[in-house]
Subunit: 468 residues, 2 copies
């Protein structure tokens, strides 16, 4: 981690009044300068432009480059490649870079990382590639990576780092400080000390700020916090993130099946998960598994295809409903003109409700009583806005086609569809959640199917009954 520290000092802004533009490392100008230097084949110039950046900014730069330039940059940096860049890279770009680096060089880079970052990079690799890296790693490090892979994906066990400061419960604060000053295997950054009993079970944690305000003779057991919020190695990262957010944690202990301290998770890793989880919901509502900004063209097209196929199926279902009333439309063509309005309003109103519901489920905001109130509120909101938009749409239809009957039909269909949208907007995500299906990914397609089918059926059906 010495690299990171060096980087930080190198990009110093001692005045402390940096503007936003200066604050962020990677500007369009920098990208252009690097591109030019790469094209001109000036490795020294490239090195100079890149070396002073923070690892996260280097990663941004690598992501900004095109495929060929990226490969040239990795070539130039060669063995001087900053290992801290790897965990910051987007998955698609990282794969490219790792392939180019090759297993031996990668093994060397990984062993320079904290164990959580190394696992983060390692776990995404193909099995054959993993084995070649493991063979090139020191034994202790190999063991850490192999053990990590025994924990479920996206679990606390994968997120934790082994580097931590663990102190026996019998020590005083003075002994602890002396130990820390002498030890040379402490992690680079840590925020809490963990106190363990002789069986290595965590029994307390002490924030460093408290260590610094306490006098030397005090026993650790006197000043430690005993509410540890300890997390099992198998705990899902979404739960981990929830705990950090809920309790404002900066670090938390991870324990194995027998309750022994296995590692520690720090807030900087959780920040990324909180981000990812919130981002995922937005992406899933549009049928995307993850952002594909850096994916190759064909991969992107292929990844988006299944969702569109599902939507084609639901669109055809809606068309079948319309087809039932082809005779009616033939006689009153105004129906064809107006029918998308009812379906579209239902879809939009329902999407609002679904979005609120999906976030509430993700944030664990829906207790039994909140849920009850939520459903009845959406019923009311659907009905209230339904009536308003029934009046509006009815009025417009009347003016447009001069037929109070058509106006009445569209108004009635609007009220029906908006109420259905509100109720289904809550019930669909809740039912999916109960059926252990991710509500973020499936809710919107179910919802728009319902609002399309109900919208067309109500409008055309009422028209068939009352207008012919």
């Amino acid at each position: 981690m010495t690299e990171t520290h060096k980087d930080r000092e190198a990009t110093a802004t001692p005045e402390g009044t940096a503007e936003t533009e200066d604050v962020f490392g990677v500007t369009d100008e920098l990208v252009s300068a690097v591109e030019e230097a790469l094209e001109a084949g000036w490795p020294a110039e490239v090195g100079k432009l890149v070396s002073e950046l923070h690892a996260a900014d280097k990663a941004d730069l690598v992501e900004s480059l095109g495929h060929d330039e990226r490969s040239r940059l990795v070539d130039i940096l060669g063995s001087g490649f900053d290992p801290e860049v790897l965990p910051h890279l987007d998955a698609a770009v990282r794969e490219e870079v790792l392939d180019q680096l090759g297993p031996e060089r990668l093994a060397r880079l990984l062993s320079a990382l904290d164990s959580d970052d190394a696992v983060d990079v390692f776990e995404d690799l193909e099995t054959a590639f993993q084995h070649r890296i493991l063979a090139a790693l020191p034994l202790a490090y190999r063991h850490v990576l192999q053990e990590s892979l025994t924990f479920p994906e996206d679990s606390a066990g994968r997120l934790m780092q082994r580097e931590m400061v663990v102190i026996p419960s019998a020590w005083t604060l003075g002994e602890t400080i002396d130990y820390m000053r002498a030890a040379d295997d402490l992690p680079d950054d840590f925020y809490d000390l963990y106190v363990v009993d002789p069986k290595h079970h965590p029994i307390g944690k002490i924030p460093l700020s408290r260590v610094l305000r306490t006098r030397r003779p005090v026993r650790l057991t006197e000043i430690m916090e005993t509410d540890l919020k300890a997390m099992p190695v198998t705990l899902d990262q979404e739960e981990v993130a929830h705990m950090f957010r809920q309790y404002g944690l900066v670090s938390a202990p991870v324990v194995d099946d027998s309750g022994r301290l296995a590692g520690v998770i720090t807030v900087d890793d959780v920040v990324h998960i909180i981000e990812e989880e919130a981002e995922e919901d937005a992406l899933k509502l549009a049928g995307l598994a993850e952002t594909d900004l850096y994916s190759a063209m064909l991969d992107t097209a292929r990844a988006r295809f299944p969702w569109l196929l599902v939507n084609l199926a639901t669109a055809i279902l809606a068309s079948i409903v319309i087809g039932l009333f082809a005779g009616t439309i033939e006689q009153i063509v105004a129906l064809a003109v107006l029918m998308p309005i009812v379906a579209s309003m239902g879809g939009n109103a329902g999407t609002q409700t679904v979005t609120v519901a999906v976030r509430a489920i993700a944030m664990k905001d829906l207790t039994e009583s909140t849920t009850r109130r939520f459903i009845s509120k959406e019923l009311f909101v659907g009905a209230a806005n339904g009536v308003l938009f029934a009046v509006l749409a009815g009025g417009i239809a009347w003016l447009w086609f001069g037929s109070p009957k058509i106006a009445a039909v569209i108004a009635a269909a609007m009220i029906v569809n908006m109420i259905v949208a509100g109720v289904c907007g809550t019930l669909i995500p809740l039912a999916l959640e109960r059926a252990k299906i991710d509500p973020a990914i499936a809710s919107s397609v179910f919802l728009t199917t319902v609002t399309d089918v109900v919208g067309f059926f109500a409008f055309l059906g009422l028209a068939a009954v009352f207008l012919l």
Copy 2:
């Protein structure tokens, strides 16, 4: 902040093997128990159930209750109300609770909070209410709140806390530790020391883990980090969050116009902002300003109305396009049956692109060269999936209506609309961003307008030309 600490110890799980269910404070059972105790009028029982919870869990409990029960709970807790609960409450619920507490009691509660939390609660109040609170506050505290309000909303100045550990640059580590052991006005939790020059400009920061590993005679200037990532008081919270995420910060200094250290922002506050900002994008894409889970029914209906009105306008625009071809539809009713397919596929494909674009803009991932590649990729993806779905939709139309001509028309319209969706899905958010309009809130309505209009126009227009 002593309350928080006490709470933590009270809910101790010393085994450290707690299951998820135990880990989270507020269960449906607890909510029911509190509701029963409130209805039965057993204040002691209520107090017992609530007092052991962490402040964040207390806030969840308060949110879970209905309006009347909530007001009864606040009544019972009376002067024993935990001030730390306030910053954790959802805005709509918080307003209710603050109204009930009244300015005098609230002034007392606020002065028990760290300044950043107090500002967070205070800034949302109505001006008259604010003045009554200020009058009841101690002078120093009043000054802090008043000054905070001079900074823009959602800026670093509003987020920062004044409580921090500031050390003159001439000191040694030993002097610093002696000072910290003796001082009684240090913040409860801190992660970095800030080193200032005689003008109170920050010139370095030292993580506590480094303080603990350094020997007493060492000068602070020898071990401090000089790359401070100092943030101006006016910096927007979105930028603040970006800096914390990008550089893995745990705390960062905030400086005033003349570069003097004004306060410090810590990661626990930023976690909520990162969450909020990511959440906001998902909500805005559905036309919601913020989650309205806890808002009153009428407020919710009213807040969602404008977005639906905009959508009504765009739906009518689409209907007008259909109306242009009413004669064509009258002759070939199959067109009315099939036309929603083209519009809906364009809308869905475009929404995928918009979602990726909006997140990329929020994450500052779109540099000039990334943008260029992104647009050409979306053009390709739109064309590739356009051809595939043209074949599918054309085939289905042929089978359904037995007309190769209708099949050719829907296929051609599908390709056109999917390409338009891909290109507009990138260009619309980028253009809005350039025009300083939030792309998250406006992109999807513009996009679906385009894909509806183009979808209907291409399909019906081609049909009018080639089928009649």
